[in-house]
């Protein structure tokens, strides 16, 4: 059965169902227990599963991740929450040098079925330390998997996949999407990691976009559709491993690719997508792969500035039109 649920509820339901299914799943993080998490993502779980399985922790991000790593290596399936994505920097060693590498460094002997959840993205006037999109940092680290759902359906399925996954995963919840509603099946299901979603088919250009930007891209495609431009929109959903195949196929078909993300352009994941596309679709491309992203500055506080900072429908549309200006082969 399918109902309309909010993104935040879809997250919550995935956690609840997986906890129901598997007594080894537990949650730990700041204010997630009695309070249910500052974004409401853990609402009601402590009441249902008890203080042993939904644990309020001290403000100690390094120890929170370490708790997860140690418990995972010991056979549990921890879900540990880092409130804002910006705070992964505080626990970066534990994520990058411990969680991600232990399996390899131990010659495969360890398994780290750890899910790290965190709230990313801008648009809330939360300024430089509470608005970042740092997915590129995580995707560069062998051993991690990274997901960033753009809608309630993917949220539930990806979160379930993360919890069942035997490798450390980072689930990035977009703070601006928490209230977004959509159809979500009641029964547990999984969106397999590493599979992109073709949000909309098209023939003139491909847009690759994730998180909230996938929705902006879909809106841009809709807008351009009215002008007779057919845009294919691909939401990778999983950022590491990236579904290169789906993106490449689309590039072969449309010959024009635009990548969109909220993170700053320089060194963002869009660079990797562009590098891959020009490699795998060199002979097909009629225009350079374009990138729409934030400029090279910290996220500004003032809404007047943040508005210009974040990519939006107009900038995406303009980039697609730009790519289409070049004559075809």
């Amino acid at each position: 059965m399918s109902r309309r649920l909010a993104y935040v509820q879809a997250f919550n339901e995935a956690v609840r169902q997986e906890m129901d299914n598997d007594p080894d799943v537990f949650c730990a993080g700041e204010d997630i227990g009695a309070f249910g998490g500052v974004f409401g993502t853990f609402t009601g779980l402590q009441k249902e599963f008890g203080v042993e399985r939904v644990v309020d922790t001290p403000i100690s991000e390094q120890a929170i991740i370490g708790l997860g790593v140690g418990a995972a290596v010991s056979g549990l399936r921890p879900i540990v929450d880092i409130m804002f994505m910006d705070f992964i920097c505080v626990a970066f060693d534990q994520i990058v040098n411990q969680a991600a590498k232990i399996k390899y460094m131990f010659g495969g002997a360890a398994t780290v079925p750890l899910t790290i959840t965190t709230g990313g993205g801008g648009g809330l006037s939360a300024a430089g330390q509470h608005s970042q999109s740092l997915e590129a940092l995580l995707c560069h680290i062998p051993g991690l998997k990274v997901v960033h759902p753009s809608n309630p359906y993917d949220m539930k399925g990806l979160m379930a996949a993360c919890i069942r996954e035997d490798n450390p995963t980072v689930m990035i919840k977009h703070k601006r999407l928490l209230g977004m509603k959509g159809e979500v099946p009641e029964d547990p299901y999984v969106v397999p990691l590493g599979t992109a979603n073709v949000v909309r088919e098209g023939t003139d250009a491909t847009v690759v976009a994730w998180g909230r930007m996938a929705n902006e891209a879909a809106d841009a495609a809709e807008q351009l559709h009215n002008d007779g431009i057919s845009v294919e929109v691909i939401d990778p959903r999983t950022l590491q491993p990236l579904d290169t195949e789906t993106i490449t196929e689309s590039a072969h078909k449309t010959n024009r690719v635009v990548v969109v993300h909220e993170a700053v352009r320089f060194g963002g994941l869009g660079a990797e997508v562009a590098a891959q596309v020009q490699e795998h679709a060199f002979d097909y491309l009629d225009a350079p792969v374009a990138r729409v992203a934030a400029p090279f500055s910290p996220v500004p506080f003032s809404p007047a500035l943040e508005r210009h900072y974040l990519p939006d429908v107009d900038r995406i549309s303009a980039a697609i039109r730009g790519a289409l200006e070049r004559p075809g082969a």
């Binding site: 204010d31 500052v38 100690s60 939360a126 330390q129 509470h130 400029p295 506080f301």
Partner: protein, 331 residues
């Protein structure tokens, strides 16, 4: 409190009232949806920032946390630039780029609120290092909460200051909660000051609702630091009257109405006013005049902020780097 001059006693009062009025105004603007972003208000804790900052000069530095307006006001921050910053205006202290969580004014030695719990402490250690390096007799102080005392950076900062014998004060505002979680769920100790011995520095507990007690302890710690005897820890037992962010408790039952009420009985400003009047240091009229005068300032500041322009789009990439010549810098 007799050991302090009347001027000092009245100054302590004035600092607290300035904070209270600023925070109440901010709270009202927030409830009216006139402030973008998050807002962590300082109401209830005024005695701590006031008592400490009154022991410092403009050349002494402080670092703060997410709950930073009170610290900046106490250090001498101006209402106009503060209010403008909260509204994200170009006339704000940070030209609208920092907002509540990054409010700062180097002119009065306020090296920033901070959105990362505990992170300000290491920066205060750096300022303390600079003071010692230059042998200029200045001190730095860092404000942090009970919750922050559990984060690694705080530990490293305290030990570094102790190891290098830096003129740096660690001011813990123990308000018994980190966001919505009570202290006793996040640590097995009651008093943060129990950690001082582990760094080999002196630590004292003060009543954080008593501005004179805080000031006394701060003066002693500042003297010690200026003498070259190194850092110390002051734990002020205090309470925030508002919610973790914003004003209302939103019906969240992480603390009881009763508990809040009991602390409110000990309001740091009202109890202090009673003492001032009882000791004939001030009359009720004197005291009321302070509120009145400052209320006018606040009204003017709101007016200033509201009529100030938002930053223009061309300001977006200014001040990422020090050189305004961003040629060659990635876009």
């Amino acid at each position: 409190m007799t050991q302090f001059d009347r001027d000092v006693q009245l100054d302590l009062h004035r600092r607290m009232v300035r904070i209270r009025l600023f925070e109440e105004a901010a709270g009202q603007l927030d409830e009216a949806a006139k402030l973008p972003g998050f807002l962590h208000l300082y109401v209830g804790q005024e005695a701590v920032a006031s008592g400490v900052c009154a022991a410092l000069t403009d050349d002494d530095q402080i670092t703060s946390n997410h709950r930073g307006h009170g610290h900046l006001v106490a250090k001498g921050g101006q209402f106009n630039q503060m209010m403008a910053e909260l509204m994200g205006k170009s006339t704000g202290y940070c030209k609208g780029k920092g907002g509540s969580m990054h409010i700062s004014s180097l002119d009065v030695g306020m090296l920033g609120a901070n959105g990362i719990v505990g992170a300000g402490s290491t920066i205060a250690v750096g300022a303390g290092f600079a003071n010692k390096y230059r042998n200029n007799g200045h001190v730095s102080a860092t404000f942090f909460g009970d919750g922050a005392s559990n984060i690694g950076a705080l530990h490293e900062a305290a030990n570094m200051a102790a190891a290098l014998q830096l003129p740096t004060l660690f001011i813990c505002e123990n308000n018994e909660y980190g966001e919505f979680t009570p202290r006793d769920q996040t640590m097995a100790i009651t008093d943060i000051v129990d950690r001082a011995a582990g760094y080999g520095i002196p630590g004292v507990i003060v009543d954080g609702m008593d501005v004179v007690a805080v000031h006394e302890a701060a003066v002693e710690a500042v003297d010690r630091a200026r003498r070259g005897d190194g850092p110390s820890l002051i734990e002020a037992k205090t309470y925030r009257f508002y919610n973790h962010h914003g004003v209302q408790n939103l019906g969240l039952k992480y603390r009881t109405d009763d508990e809040v009420e009991q602390w409110k009985q000990r309001d740091p400003i009202f109890t202090y006013e009673d003492r001032l009047i009882a000791a004939d240091t001030a009359t009720r009229d004197d005291v009321d005049a302070v509120w009145e005068e400052l209320r006018a300032d606040i009204a003017a500041a709101i007016e200033f902020a509201e009529s100030s322009p938002a930053p223009e789009a061309d300001q977006l990439l200014v001040d990422v780097y020090t050189s305004t010549d961003t040629a060659g810098v990635a876009r």
